[in-house]
Amino acid sequence: MSDEKFRVLTSDSYAGPGDAGRTGSWRVLRPVIDYEKCAPAKAGKPACFLCWLYCPDSVVSKTIRPEINLEYCKGCGICAEECPSKAITMVEESSFAEGDDQ
């Protein structure tokens, strides 16, 4: 019954990285993955992926060598907490050079 001339703007967001804006700038601690310890990276085959599963912002890729999209990662640290291999360390953002987002 909706009339096309009504735009009815609402704030809906969909599951996916970045649907709340570029939230990477909120980050105080940066997750850094040690691929020597990370299970799928070490085994070279799909395994574990708990970081991907738990990330509330869906910014961890389900790939061999999981990657974190720092444009949107808020630095909550859940991935580091959940990683059974203790492969993820939360590092102070201030220790990275400005503009270094990888």
Binding site: M1, S2, D3, K5, F6, R7, V8, L9, T10, S11, D12, S13, Y14, A15, G16, P17, G18, D19, A20, G21, R22
Partner: protein
């Protein structure tokens, strides 16, 4: 079918005819008989709806927000401090563009504790982003509830149907109940364009940043300010939509024609009284009396308060000699809210009428037809030169 019943039953009848699917309400005087009647309808099986008994008004509207988001037509009703307890959800409903319909059975706001009638409760929510319709008799209550669903669902803006506590809620008056088939033809089943469901997982109204942003598809997703501007623009367009809907209602059910305001003996009137709600019924008689005495008096009984029909009001009242505004609410430290709105609407007119503002009936303070008569007479005969022309009717009695 004509029945002789209370205003609260008229509202409940409208809700039933609108085939509401979810009702969540918390009883508060003078709304209580409305929710009791709905609960009775549901319990006896004559009304197929889910009745959710909640522990507060805040929860009542929260339940309705959930129901509407999931695609069910919903209803609640409240009064006074119940409405104020609900306020966070009241604003939320508008921002979420949910087509809610709620009856506000007007009652004075505490402190001090007072259960009697005035308009301070709904007027305090004037800027919440809801459409506000004020009914002045039982037939208008019933018809407005049904029309409100059509309007809310077409423009995706919630609607408050306001009517005076006791004066209308508890008095008995004959009114016509339209056939269900006619109402069904007027009001199709509810579908909502943003319906939440497992097939379309969505987060609704999460943190929305000051700026716009690209969404996950790369499209521009509006920021907070775009949503506000859109609500404002589409609320203004709702005036036209409501007029069209009222016309369709009249064609199917045979009543209507005054969706914005009832004009009573306005055509050649020099002095026009303006009021919301049931006060208008008394002012009609007063207008007749003044006419018999030779004053060209008229009444503009405003039904649609938000969106404010500024153009209609300017066309109707610009060029008159005087406008007398009667209100059962006040914007403390300024004037009656309606008075201020009318002044703003009339400012661009080439010929502005003199204007007077009267506050009356707060907390159920009694008023008689003579009070309206005296106020209009005194205003017209003693034109104040100063800007402070706010009068109080019925103080110290």
């Amino acid at each position: 079918m004509f029945v002789f019943e209370s205003g609260n039953v008229a509202a409940a009848t409208g809700v039933k005819l609108a085939r509401v699917q979810v009702i969540a309400a918390y009883p508060i005087t003078p709304q209580t008989p409305l929710t009791e009647k709905l609960s009775e309808y549901v319990d006896s099986g004559v009304f197929d709806a889910e009745y959710v008994a909640v522990e507060s008004e805040h929860s009542a509207l929260a339940v309705c927000i959930g129901a509407l988001s999931a695609g069910a037509r919903a209803f609640t009703a409240t009064s006074a401090n119940g409405l104020l307890y609900m306020v966070e959800q009241v604003h939320w409903t508008a921002g979420a563009r949910l087509p809610m319909v709620m009856c506000v059975v007007n009652r004075a706001v505490g402190a001090p504790f007072n259960i009697w009638n005035d308009h301070q409760d709904s007027i305090s929510q004037r800027d919440a982003g809801w459409i506000q319709i004020y009914a002045k008799d039982h037939q208008e209550i019933l018809d407005s509830v049904i029309k409100a669903y059509r309007l809310a669902e077409e423009v995706c803006i919630p609607v408050m149907v306001c009517y005076d506590g006791y004066y209308l809620s508890h008095t008995y008056m004959p009114f016509d109940i339209p056939d269900q088939s006619a109402v069904d033809a007027f009001l199709p089943p509810y579908t909502y364009r943003h319906t939440l469901g497992p097939a379309n997982p969505t987060s609704l109204n999460t943190v929305t940043l000051p700026g716009g942003r690209p969404d996950i598809h790369g499209d521009f997703a509006p920021g907070y300010m775009e949503l506000r501007q859109c609500l404002h623009e589409e609320m203004k367009q709702a005036i036209e939509v409501y007029q069209r809907i009222d016309g369709e209602f009249a064609a199917l059910i045979g009543r209507g024609g005054n969706p914005i305001a009832e004009r009573y003996r306005c055509d050649d009137a020099e002095y026009v009284a303006v009021a919301l709600g049931s006060m208008a019924n008394q002012i009609r008689d007063v207008v007749d009396r003044l006419r018999e005495e030779g004053m060209k008096a008229g009444l503009l009984a405003l039904s649609l308060y938000r969106p404010f029909p500024s153009e209609f009001v300017a066309a109707e009242l610009g060029g008159r000699k005087g406008v007398i505004v009667f209100e059962k609410a006040i914007s403390f430290g300024h004037s009656g809210a309606l008075y201020a709105d009318l002044q703003a609407a009339l400012y661009p007119c080439a010929s502005r009428p003199l204007m007077w503002n009267y506050i009356l009936g707060l907390g159920g303070r009694s008023y008689q037809s003579d009070d309206f008569y005296d106020a209009i007479r005194q205003s017209v005969e003693r034109r104040p030169a100063s800007g402070d022309n706010l009068g109080w009717i019925g103080l110290n009695r």
